[in-house]
């Protein structure tokens, strides 16, 4: 069957199935199990209303449970076991973690991840803040914003191609077609540099791609926050003789720290999961490995589920403080 047809059928089946499930399950509940008639009418309605929320929630809970909650525990289990040849597995305790900690590539990935965690959220937030503030009150601000926001729609893979062209290097004597090398030569550089193969610094060239993508996100959120800063506080500062920089750093910035933290943590999570950019641009060569790509290598190239799962647990561990903090805040807000 043609995949497009299969897709259409799935849409029809999936959508029809969902609607049918919700509709029929409600009818059965109201008409058959607890009919709203007879001598127990009040009790029946009450009971139906106790069950109904779970009917609404059931598909979502099943999907969430299977696709997000169960894997956390299963990955934990896998990270403590070793697959045996010919199927089955055996409990090996912390052996996988021990093996992982003994690998140079793991430490390289961890080190790079921390570098990414320091640079990317800071860079994206700073550029986002700059863009938000600069475009705030100019006539074509919205147009400018939408152009800076645009990379958000571009896939990491697409961005990888775009930036590989920027970093492209040609042999000496020929015209440089990568912008970076063209500028480098123009300002007196001797030969074109293979930017992505220079250890340590190449990680920064990869980070630039993510900063480029995430700045738009930071800008949109921070721009809304800047607009929310009470006008009278700004006017009061100007009347007192504050210059624009003082207004920004002393008046506006302190009032939007909460939003900056939100933006920062959201980008932090993106960074922890970053995979496509490294996979497409260097595949972890020249000391650019990061955890998510290391994990992919272990799982699908080395076929080592134990160590792969162990490194996935490391990513989970790094995410957990943010997870706990978010849950804590959400619960506080609900009260």
């Amino acid at each position: 069957m043609h995949p497009a047809l299969q897709g259409l059928l799935t849409i029809a089946f999936g959508v029809g199935g969902c609607v049918g499930y919700f509709y029929l399950s409600n009818i059965i509940l109201d008409q058959v199990i607890f009919p709203a008639r007879g001598k127990h009418i009040a009790r029946n309605i009450r009971r139906a209303n106790i069950i109904r929320p779970w009917l609404f929630l059931l598909p979502a809970l099943l999907a969430l449970g299977l696709y997000l909650a169960y894997p956390v525990f299963e990955t934990l289990r896998l990270s403590l076991t070793e697959r045996l040849p010919g199927g089955g597995s055996t409990f090996v305790g912390l052996d996988n973690y021990r093996q992982m900690l003994g690998e140079d590539k793991f430490w390289e990935a961890l080190q790079n991840n921390f570098l990414w965690l320091l640079v990317v959220p800071a860079g994206a937030t700073a550029f986002g803040l700059l863009a938000a503030q600069l475009t705030d009150r100019i006539a074509w601000g919205n147009f400018a914003k939408s152009l800076i926001f645009m990379p958000m729609a571009i896939s990491f893979v697409g961005a990888a191609v775009i930036w590989k062209l920027v970093y492209d290097a040609r042999p000496p004597g020929t015209e440089q077609i990568g912008v970076l090398n063209a500028i480098y030569i123009y300002f007196g550089g001797d030969a074109a540099q293979q930017w992505l193969t220079i250890p340590f610094w190449n990680s920064f060239f990869l980070m630039a791609v993510l900063i480029w993508i995430q700045t738009g996100f930071a800008m949109v959120i921070l721009s809304a926050a800047l607009r929310g800063v009470p006008e009278d506080t700004i006017e009061a500062a100007i009347v007192d003789g504050a210059n624009p920089f003082q207004v920004f750093f002393r008046i506006k910035l302190p009032q939007i720290t909460g939003t900056i933290v939100v933006v920062w943590t959201t980008i932090t999570i993106v960074v922890l999961k970053v995979f496509d950019i490294v996979f497409a641009m260097t595949n972890g060569q020249w000391q650019t490995q990061v955890l998510a790509n290391y994990m992919f290598d272990k799982l699908f190239r080395a076929n080592d589920w134990g160590v792969g799962s162990a490194s996935a647990m490391v990513i989970m561990l790094l995410v957990s403080p943010i997870l706990i903090w978010n849950v804590y805040n959400a619960r506080r807000e609900m009260r």
């Binding site: 999936g14 609404f56 999907a63 590989k164």
Partner: protein, 384 residues
């Protein structure tokens, strides 16, 4: 800040210029890809794309017409014509030329030069040439001529033709395009439906454990999907789905749900209580309230999430690699194909740029058409 005291016009100029610089910096890389996708391989490798908009001086290697076209005039064998006619029909102004690769600017236009294999060649600035020889000119192809010429900007749609229609198996993206579409559309619609019902229950129905569930969903928002790869691949293999569209749709649904439920619940909770209470008093069931009142009112939130999910599934690589693409490669998606091209055709920028642009053009269109909803969704969706 026009109405505020202390306003300086110099500062306004600085402001405008810095915004122009910032925007320029941000669109410059993408612009490079777009411009490159309309250039030929020769053009891309001979000059930076930023020069494509202006006439450029290029070193071209051209050939005269083949010896088969020579005519005999008296004692002389002659080939005449224009260098540019025989080679792609472009027009340019020649500033220097040569007959050997070691000295490509040996002669000025109008001068007469000697060919290594014998014969005299004259090349004019407009590309017209005359090749004379005392003996019959042999060989299959005409002798090479190296010219330095100022070539006017020229763009071509040929790359797009290669990528979309005529290219070979590794270059043609048409199939991957439809595969991507096949993954994306069900993977966008199904989670919306499931999430909408769940969000309604979490927003407007009373039941024990509701607060706990909401907290759990906020927690699941940040769980890295890396954790799910192996366990779910195992599950898919055990229940017989294996690798394929069904698995990819289900995976995208599962991974998209926390954000969908979170966004929709936050929006639905803002619907005025009166509307829903009145409907209840009038005897509407929850199912009716949901389909007739809440769902239509939640359209902006539904649109926001639909855009997120669409962009995410269209741009995804990891889920496709793990759950969709099997060893036959029949179900490959565009992101995967581009990664492969980056490996095998690293230097063929005309192919790479065009395929990348084909793959990002759809999300870009969605982005510019529905930016309003995207922004609204971002503002509602970032966990506070």
């Amino acid at each position: 800040m026009n109405s505020i005291a202390g306003h300086k016009s110099g500062l306004t100029w600085a402001l405008h210029i810095s915004v122009v610089l910032l925007v320029g910096l941000w669109i410059f890389p993408t612009l490079g890809l777009l411009v490159s996708s309309f250039r030929t391989a020769d053009q891309i490798s001979s000059s930076g794309w930023w020069r494509a908009l202006f006439p450029t001086e290029q070193n071209l290697t051209l050939r005269t017409a083949p010896p088969g076209t020579q005519t005999q005039i008296g004692d002389l064998y002659v080939i005449e014509g224009s260098l540019f006619d025989a080679n792609s029909g472009q027009s340019a102004v020649i500033s220097a030329w040569g007959t050997s690769a070691r000295d490509i600017s040996a002669y000025q236009p109008g001068e007469q030069g000697e060919l290594r294999k014998g014969g005299l060649l004259t090349v004019q600035a407009d590309g017209n040439y005359r090749l004379e020889s005392n003996t019959e000119i042999s060989g299959k192809r005409g002798p090479r001529v190296f010219v330095t010429a100022v070539v006017p900007p020229e763009f071509t749609l040929k790359n797009y033709e290669t990528i979309l229609i005529s290219g070979g198996a590794t270059d043609n993206m048409a199939k991957a395009f439809f595969n991507t579409l096949t993954v994306t559309i069900p993977a966008t619609i199904i989670p919306i439906l499931i999430a909408a019902f769940a969000a309604y229950a979490l927003a407007w129905m009373e039941f024990p454990g509701r607060a706990l569930l909401i907290a759990a969903i906020v927690g699941l928002l940040v769980v890295p999907l890396q954790l799910a790869l192996i366990p779910l691949l195992k599950v898919h293999n055990e229940i017989g789905i294996g690798k394929g569209y069904l698995g990819a749709w289900m995976a995208h649904t599962g991974f998209g749900l926390p954000l969908a439920i979170y966004l929709l619940r936050n929006y639905m909770i803002g619907i005025p209580r009166d509307i829903i209470e009145n409907a209840r008093v009038d005897g509407a069931t929850d199912f009716q309230i949901f389909t007739r009142i809440v769902l239509p009112l939640s359209f902006p939130a539904l649109a926001s999430f639909a855009i997120f999910q669409f962009l995410w599934t269209w741009n995804d690589l990891l889920v496709a690699l793990v759950f969709l693409i099997d060893s036959t490669g029949e179900t490959t998606v565009m992101t995967k194909q581009i990664v492969e091209m980056l490996g095998t055709r690293g230097g063929n920028w005309e192919i790479l740029a065009t395929s990348a642009f084909v793959s990002i053009s759809v999300p870009l269109m969605v982005f510019f058409a529905m930016q309003k909803y995207l922004v609204r969704g971002l503002l509602a969706g970032s966990v506070k």
